[in-house]
């Protein structure tokens, strides 16, 4: 299985889109590209299982490397472990659903789909890179398409939000840049090769100096507490597919980076800074949940709840044990699917009712039963109903967190648990107001979902249910990866 295919296909699709003659061609080409990516990732999943069951216990499978810039020892290394495969699955599903949801995008369709595929290109590249330079390269590639997507096709205060998002994310990546350069020179290894860096022991002082930069830098992408403000504005201003990509993929880049680069390479510093990470994560969880209570715009509700949900990811990473880290990755996948579904369905509702304000809606269940069912599913996943992925993921994080006997950690865990109640409040209130009661929109033609919308929802729901009902496959996928990270932490703290 050649991982670079995952780079070539989105790139070819993106370039191909530019040569299309009309919107019809653009969307079919996009769909074909996204479908091929999805099939490739599924093939990758089964190839991965096959390799593992054949007893291949390498940390990273399908690894390939070639020298890129020899004078600086920058290589292009690809490879995947269970964590990256699960992130790739998420990416492929969200991309496919995103393309389907934007089926009717008519204004500047070419540019729109070009940017979507460019964003996908960045995300795929990020998840398969095993070299910090390449990782950084793809991380930054994904920023500008978001800026343009929000700024051109967005709604509301789109220019402001786009600017804020681009600058904050670039700020995050600037921190990553300093951190990685420091790691390059101070580790003594003079390489960006992730595997090589994980083998050398980076001096403790260097770790303490550069871990916060890397963690915060990636943390900005995943809405770590003081730097979460781009999330609500960016998500709510973005077009539907843009929000899905932002919350579903882009925020996961940060979580993955925190785990793969910061924590994996600098375990000592991770242990040292863990209390701060947990503190920030807990604040994000609580703050996000309560801020959601105040919102009346559906997109803002989901955006703030994303802050809260992504707090669980950071909480899992900060707990530094195998269960919690597995849970963190599961939460990334689960939240990615769930929030993409949520944004997709909000987009569908908005297209029909032309409002996103909860108070202006009501009784939509009768008018569009399919969309409302999807809405319920997304909501119930968000509040952690057993049977859906949200429950599995958050439960795993919390179980992992409880293993940590320190009082402060216990308090953080309890607070995180409590936030689920708040989540239930806002989710049930929103779904109730939107779906039940008398119909408030009379003058709008409220037809139900089209085939492309149904297909998009179906793909995401399939993922959610597959994880919710049978979590073991995902668990088996992630655990070995988490184990490798844990081994480093345990072996070094001894």
């Amino acid at each position: 299985m050649n991982l670079t295919l995952l780079l070539i296909i989105p790139l070819l699709t993106a370039v191909g889109v530019l040569f299309c003659r009309n919107a019809q061609q653009v969307r079919w080409l996009s769909l074909a590209g996204a479908a091929v990516q999805f099939i490739l990732v599924m093939a990758l999943l089964f190839a991965f299982y096959a390799a593992r069951s054949n007893g291949n216990t390498d940390a990273f499978l399908f690894s390939e490397r070639c020298m890129w810039f020899a004078p600086l020892n920058i290589q292009f290394i690809t490879g995947a472990d269970g964590i990256s495969v699960s992130m790739l699955l998420l990416t492929a599903a969200v991309v496919l659903a995103g393309v389907l949801v934007s089926w009717k995008e008519e204004t500047m369709a070419k540019e729109f789909f070009f940017l979507l595929h460019l964003l996908a290109f960045g995300a795929y590249g990020f998840f398969i890179s095993l070299d910090v330079f390449t990782l950084f390269f793809f991380l930054e590639i994904a920023v500008i398409p978001k800026y343009l997507l929000i700024g051109i096709w967005g709604s509301g205060r789109k220019e402001y939000s786009a600017n804020k998002l681009a600058l904050m994310l670039m700020g995050g990546s600037a921190l990553v840049l300093i951190g990685m350069l420091g790691m390059y020179y101070q580790s003594g290894a003079n390489t960006f090769d992730l595997i090589r860096l994980s083998e050398v022991h980076i001096p403790y002082a260097t770790q303490l100096q550069f871990f916060p930069l890397l963690f915060l830098g990636f943390g900005v992408f995943t809405a770590i507490f003081p730097f979460h403000t781009w999330v609500p504005d960016g998500h709510s201003a973005a077009p539907t597919a843009g929000s899905m990509f932002l919350a579903g993929i882009s925020m996961k880049l940060g979580g993955y980076g925190c785990l793969r680069v910061a924590t994996y390479l600098m375990p000592d510093a991770a242990a040292y800074y863990a209390p701060y990470i947990i503190g920030l994560a807990t604040i994000a969880i609580i703050y996000g949940a309560f801020a959601t209570l105040m919102q009346t715009d559906l997109k803002y509700i989901n955006a703030y709840s994303s802050v809260s949900h992504c707090g669980f990811v950071l909480l899992g990473i900060g707990m530094l044990n195998q269960t919690a880290i597995t849970g963190a990755v599961m939460q990334m996948v689960s939240h990615g699917l769930m929030t993409a579904l949520f944004f997709a369905v909000i987009g569908m509702i908005y297209q029909r009712t032309h409002t996103r304000m909860v108070r202006q809606m009501g009784g939509l269940l009768k008018a569009m039963p399919f969309i409302m069912t999807v809405f319920f599913i997304a909501g119930l996943t968000s509040l952690g109903l057993p049977g859906f992925s949200g429950f599995v993921a958050e439960m795993t994080v919390l179980m992992g967190a409880w293993q940590n006997p320190k009082t402060m950690y216990r308090i953080a865990t309890i607070l995180a648990c409590a936030s689920i109640v708040v989540t239930a409040v806002y989710i049930l209130r929103a779904t109730g107001q939107v779906a039940m009661g008398p119909l408030k929109q009379h003058d709008e033609p409220l037809n139900d979902a089209r085939w492309y919308e149904k297909l998009a929802a179906f793909i995401l729901i399939a993922g959610i249910v597959a994880i919710g009902v049978a979590p073991f496959w995902l668990n088996d996928l992630i655990t070995p990866g988490a184990k490798i990270i844990m081994q480093k932490i345990v072996s070094l703290s001894r």
Binding site: W68, F69, A70, P71, L72, F133, F137, F138, E140, I141, V143, I144, Y147, L148, G151, I152, K158, E159, A162, N163, A166, L167, M170, G171, A174, L175, L177, I178, L181, G182, Y184, Y185, Q186
Partner: protein, 473 residues
Amino acid sequence: MTDLILLKHELLLTALLLIFILMKLGKDISNSSFLKMSNALLLINFIIGFFGNQHGQMFASMFQTNELMALQKNMLNGGLLLISLSSSRWLNNHIHLPEFFMLIVATLLGMFFMISSNNLLVFYLALELATIPLAALCSFDLDKRQSSEAGMKMIMSSAFASGILLMGISLVYGVTGTLAFTEMSSLIASDHLTVFALILLFAGFAFKLSVVPFHLWTADVYEGSPVAVTSYLSVISKGAMVFVFTSVLYQVFKPMQEVMYQLIYIGAVLSMTIGNLFAMRQQNIKRFLAFSSIAQVGFILTGISGFSHTGAASATFFILVYVFSNMAAFAVAGIVSSAIGRETIDDYKGFYRTNPFLSWVLAIALFSLAGIPPTAGFFGKFFLLSAGAAKGNYVLITIAALNMIISLYYYLRIVRAMFMDKNETPIGSVNLSFNERAAIIICIAGILISGIWNGPFHTIHHSVTEAFSITPF
């Protein structure tokens, strides 16, 4: 006679200069046919530049050349060709077209000698040959008041700068008793007088490079000059100075690295910060690009401060990237300015509706200047910063990284104006001539390819290593 091949680049330019003079003296030819011929000649000049390069010294080692210098000269040759192509609209309507080419080739000749100089006397002569015609070029929009003011500011400040530079040179001569670089570097010791001389020399360089606090002339001259000259100033003239700075000052003042590092450190921090802060509030796009180019010099100095082969290579590579990116930006600005006559950023509102192609070109150029992947600017900035980080001064790297965010802010301002803002009276649709289209496509291809493909950087790094092994650093 075989030695003359070492002078190939310079001889070619001299021949061009003579041809231009003869064409001017001969029977009247129309601007468009002159332009065709000059473009063809520049293209031939550019192509021949790649063949038969050797290394060696001439004129009692006053002149030296090697693979790296040939490469740098080729880059500048290519830049001149791009300028000539992209500003063909403005050139076509100018009554003194032949003189433009004579002057610009003369300054380029000066820069070539400057790059190749191995002696302070040759260096000074070459520097003046590069600067004096440039001042005349700045006031080349003969009927515009701003242009004459720009020329005046250019000649005054450059005369002042060469006065300071000369004082430095005379002190160095007093201390070492020689003007040859190779002998000088072994004679230099870091006593007070030499430090003073170094500071004066650095100030002279800083003037030409427009390093803060010696940048005050930059914005006015850039804004007032015709766009073709502005792009020449900001790309080629600056590039040549960077080349000379890396090779000469590195080479000669190697024993004084510590003092040099302090100077470069201060210059880099100030240039980045001040350049960026001023760029944020500019309205005129040329003035805006002037301040952004001041900030870019700060980044280049960050790379140079690494004092390593990588540092020199990354600075050279960045100039290559900078030629493409800045040239693309100036090409769009110049085309719009000469076709429509509008130059402020507000004029670019709604530009995408009328000129999608030019909008993407400008956007890609700005992204490259801001250092966003996959454009070459990302690689350029990254290499500069990683060369600078080798010294272990993370304060400098942090300031540079923060400045990248600030610069992104104002580059996005233009992108926003083009793509997102609405405008009642947008700039009308502009038809591109073949020349302009060719220049723009070359620039965009350069921006997109020269970074991802590792060939250019490897070539540059290789020739830097070669060059420094011939004349040890």
